[in-house]
Amino acid sequence: MAMTMTQKILAAHAGLPEVRAGQLIKARLDLVLGNDITAPVAIDAFETAGFDRVTDGARIALVMDHFVPNKDIKAAEGCKKCRGFARRFGLTHFYDVGEMGVEHALIPEKGLIAPGEAAIGADSHSCTYGALGAFSTGVGSTDMAAAMATGETWFKVPAAIRVNLTGKKGRWVSGKDVILHLIGLIGVDGALYQSLEFSGWGLSDLTMSDRLTIANMAIEAGAKNGIFAVDDITRDYMRDHRDREWTAYAADPDAEYARVIDLDLSEIPCTVSWPHLPENARPAVEGAEIAIDQVVIGSCTNGNIADMAAAAEILEGRKIKKGLRGIVIPATPKIYMECIARGYTKIFMEAGCIVSTPTCGPCLGGYMGILAAGERAVSTTNRNFVGRMGHAESEVYLASPAVAAASAITGHISHPREIMEEGAGL
């Protein structure tokens, strides 16, 4: 029977010749991930159930990223619990302050995931690694605990939506615009329980950074996972990040899809998602009336070096609007140092932004940029739910790094060409 890309990976990890949509399977896992918010809950579940060993300490990654450097005593206690667990079970991949980065930027950077592998993470954005052609999905803490103990988990094999990409992106358009536009088309539950499988000749116009952003937000369409066909861009990325063998799986040409969506990249505008759902996608040019108080550039969605480069290009030699708070967060220490080496940090700070150490902080309203009642932010993060970045009466507009940088300069939602192309007007 013909299978989608996700089904092939799941079949291989379940030790089955084939799987069908709807089938319940047990699959072996190459990576189990948790962070400082979800892992403490998993550790409690693990210990309460009486487990005294993990299956494979080299296949578990604990990344302290949400509330570190510790935002308060409770966060410090959570990290302490993770640290103790990592030491007790000899976990190879424990990342604490100094080595930690925002998990979904750090894991691919460290080469901990590769095409054809299967991973779960106790963080909903664990679907990010589908960019590399891996099967990866978010779960809760108890699933993480069980997987640490057994090295496997259960899945209901998903059907898939095929997103057929054609065309080339416009000058200021990035992966973020593509995924916000797609979520606008299908809605926040448009891919519920399904895979979003990206293929088509338009892939060649999407960098790995674009793909990581797109796969990262598959969950915002309700998808179980987002996954990209493996091509030369994937192979180039893996050559630089991984020294172990990996296997590429391709969907069968006659695989069945629940739906096929044709997306012409050349028709996608710079896109912003209005509060309070990621599906409220509109062209950025419609935001001229939206005055903002804060801009956040970073997160697991847009904290990569290409994202920093896009923001720096626009902010170079310019100032952000007086009174607006500009917060830039390179996602990992490596990206942070690269920002310094390339002069981006100087550009950001001369523009009036502050550059934070890696953290998820403001994205989820944890710390490091909380909004007061009535305040508005343009943010390169992934969710704009009620109260996501702070007060229940604050607002978050989701955008690309280029749109966020342009908006920081003008003080309202702005298309980058408003800044970069003389005489472009509104």
């Binding site: 403490p40 409770k74 963080d123 926040v188 309700g222 989820l364 109260g387």
Partner: protein, 163 residues
């Protein structure tokens, strides 16, 4: 197993950020989480919820973050079951794993009004609306999940099978 209580109604796409805002995630205490459950959506929830009450919502309940703190907060609030037209998949897994009862029924979610007195028979999946004298059928769990629940949840089921 049965549950009985009043319906507390919410709309579509109730996300885990409104169920339990991230500013409270540094704790793992169910009681502390329950004290802030739903507060960004419904400031009166914690004051009006009574043990046994049932949340009734629209599509995609529990969308967003994977935080297990969300079903934990709901359960610790005294809610006996969440009925929705559909659930976001991570929330669905989490609820089962921690023992919060959930049922999918489009008809029930459509017909039940705020404050209706409901009775749920989990063995048959029948939801009875005592206020309106109506019955609704919920989707039963797949056998695999029903087995897991019968064994006492995910951790208990793998501990049993670890042998």
């Amino acid at each position: 197993m049965k549950a009985q209580g009043k319906a507390i109604k919410y709309g579509d796409h109730i996300d885990t950020d409104v169920i339990i805002p991230a500013r409270y995630l540094a704790t793992q205490s169910p009681e502390e989480l329950a004290a802030h459950c739903m507060e960004d959506l419904d400031r009166h929830f914690t004051a009006r919820v009574k043990t046994g009450d049932i949340i009734v919502a629209g599509v995609n309940f529990g969308c967003g973050s994977s935080r297990e703190h969300a079903p934990i907060a709901i359960r610790a609030s005294g809610i006996s079951c969440v009925i929705a037209k559909s659930f976001a998949r991570i929330f669905y897994r989490n609820a089962i794993n921690i023992g919060l009862a959930i049922l999918e029924s489009e008809q029930a979610a459509e017909d039940i009004a705020e404050g209706d007195e409901l009775c749920i028979d989990f063995d048959t999946g029948v939801i009875t609306n005592l206020t309106k004298n109506a019955h609704y059928a919920a989707q039963p769990f797949p056998g695999f999940i029903a087995d897991m629940i019968a064994k006492g949840g995910l951790m208990a089921s793998i501990a049993g099978g670890a042998g």
